[in-house]
Symmetry: none
Subunit: 416 residues, 2 copies
Amino acid sequence: MKAEILTVGTEILMGQIVNSNAATISELLNDFGIDVVYHTTVGDNFQRMTRALAQAEERVDFIIMCGGLGPTEDDLTKEVLAKHLGEELVQDKAGYQKLLDYFEKTGREHTPNNDLQVLTLKGGEVLKNEVGLAVGSFIEKNGKFYAALPGPPSEMRPMLSNVLLPKLAEKTGANGKLYSRVLRFYGIGESQLVTKLADLINQQTDPTIAPYAKEVEVTLRLATKCKSEQEANEKLEKIKQEILKTEDVGEFFYGEGEYNTLANVTVELLKEKGVTISAAESLTAGMFQSTLCDIVGASEIFKGGFVTYSQETKAEFLGINAEELTQHGTVSEFCAKEMARCAREKSGADIGVSLTGVAGPNTLEGKEAGTVWIGIATKEGVYALEHHFARSRQFVRMNSVMKALSMVHKELLSCS
Amino acid sequence: MKAEILTVGTEILMGQIVNSNAATISELLNDFGIDVVYHTTVGDNFQRMTRALAQAEERVDFIIMCGGLGPTEDDLTKEVLAKHLGEELVQDKAGYQKLLDYFEKTGREHTPNNDLQVLTLKGGEVLKNEVGLAVGSFIEKNGKFYAALPGPPSEMRPMLSNVLLPKLAEKTGANGKLYSRVLRFYGIGESQLVTKLADLINQQTDPTIAPYAKEVEVTLRLATKCKSEQEANEKLEKIKQEILKTEDVGEFFYGEGEYNTLANVTVELLKEKGVTISAAESLTAGMFQSTLCDIVGASEIFKGGFVTYSQETKAEFLGINAEELTQHGTVSEFCAKEMARCAREKSGADIGVSLTGVAGPNTLEGKEAGTVWIGIATKEGVYALEHHFARSRQFVRMNSVMKALSMVHKELLSCS
């Protein structure tokens, strides 16, 4: 089944709010096995809403209108839908009782416009609102499905999940469900990943493989429509293994999950192995340590560290020899190794990490913006690697943190 | 002029990302005096993109396509636009040189598909990408305007503001131009601000006053259409002064500008006054110091500081008396004052800042998540204030950093 999401609201067209409802509805419908092929947004305007509705009918089987169910003059959605389908609007009794109770309980003034919220299409079904007052509507007509959902996300989401989708499942019967997994990669660009996997992606129709470039990483979404979770898992695991064994691909994979992060994977692995970590940061000025502590329970593996932004604090806070530091410069292998070693020693942690380099936009000590040394100290010894990042100051700093996490992650995987 | 925003990307229809670009573009176009009347999103599909383009042409004068300029097979936007308008795609020389430089600098593999990013419509104008590699396109044809912008918000926004809108202003001529200013507030909620300014906002038609709640701050956009910049400035300055003199409003104002931040205002003020700063951070674990160093030239006022996440590092790195620390606990006025004092002394900075508290989600030392003490040490003495933040771990940590910046900012304004 193909669907279109028709969101309504002048505030969306003004850019006053981001249309997160379209994303939420899309995600839930896709998981349900419905292909969302269009999003359209129109203002609170009777004619434009009607035209958008007519147009959606020509290209999809299921139209979800969202927004415009409230009590004000601007709220036209159910009126538009009713007129367009030649249906009558009637009051939902349960909804009206809830509305009366609400006004009695809160002592607010019950102005007549509020009653518009509990109207519903006579030939359809009411969609109960578990959170707010405005009821939704669902109707099947001429072989198409139509739904009207409220705009506030806190009301829309439970109505969609708990009321609309179960009704739809009844009507359509379960013809397989969509299962998906997200594989996450750091250190490889989207174009490079797609090139390496070209044959696989081109041959592949089920599961599908969809690459997506995030700000500093790339993900692959694997998706398949199956009757059972077990069948889906087998298919998804098989294609995952094929991807990971591809040359120059598997080494950049760090974890699975829509909301997973490299910081999360690294902190969890530190916890699992009982390894503690500290850092001394120059260009990132605390961002690496702060990123570790985004993760709940980071205190198990992180006790503290240093921000040594100037040459002097590198010597004073960490005890690096000032003369040697001047000789080698702060953007150097020497400096990165010393910072990592001293951070480890001063904190008593198992791993010491250092980041020093040129955030930009200007050069530093004759080194170009984007030149970054990252050091790792363990009980086995110390090493540092030079990296070059391009683009903005923000991007250089963020990528430095990701690269340092990635080096720690690899270090943990390689040690027994 | 009426516009439609045509965003492209299967990941939007899958609900994997929220279409924030549509909101950003809408906001900026509305400010520019262009009415955005439709948002449409289609997947990376040649036919559907072409059909959506043809349909947009029938109802608006300006079509902004966004997304699909990257290097993969899925990136079809410029190809669709060129074919639809009967234009040829040619390589942008400057863009290609930048691409070559990028691959040389980073040492990444330059696969041929990357070159697709620097194609542009022959009969139109190139839109330079200040951040990434993919160039945009702008063309006027048959009395309509068309633009293609990149999908990553960090690339799209500067291309729209700095490149596309100035070109559009040239083409359309100034029939009175829209001038706007953004006033930024921290520490007051949107509903509170709007309530305080209710009379002013309701009476006001020119300049318009539009409030907007960001993640941890609120902005007011003042806008007016004028023939000259001078006339606009006078009108905008007058209303700004009225707003700032309103009771319980002016004290929360920290600066002006679309891209301004509290960190930027604070760092610039530190520079201007020649005041240096250091910090010791617990729950924020380096985020405060990292936020200062987002700003170019932070090294003038920041040399380094400490991340003291555990009780032990607070004692060891800073020299706080361990017994007293145990007695008072780490979420205490005592701890915040000592951390600020020691950070100042150890670093030799003029101001020492401390952040200690409970990021959550769990309680700590019997204190609820969101309880945060922030300390400020200067040559005059030390003080600390208790704050309570709600919502998520991320929100508590981010708000702690904003509050600390705000305290430093006020400290700087109050000292001569």
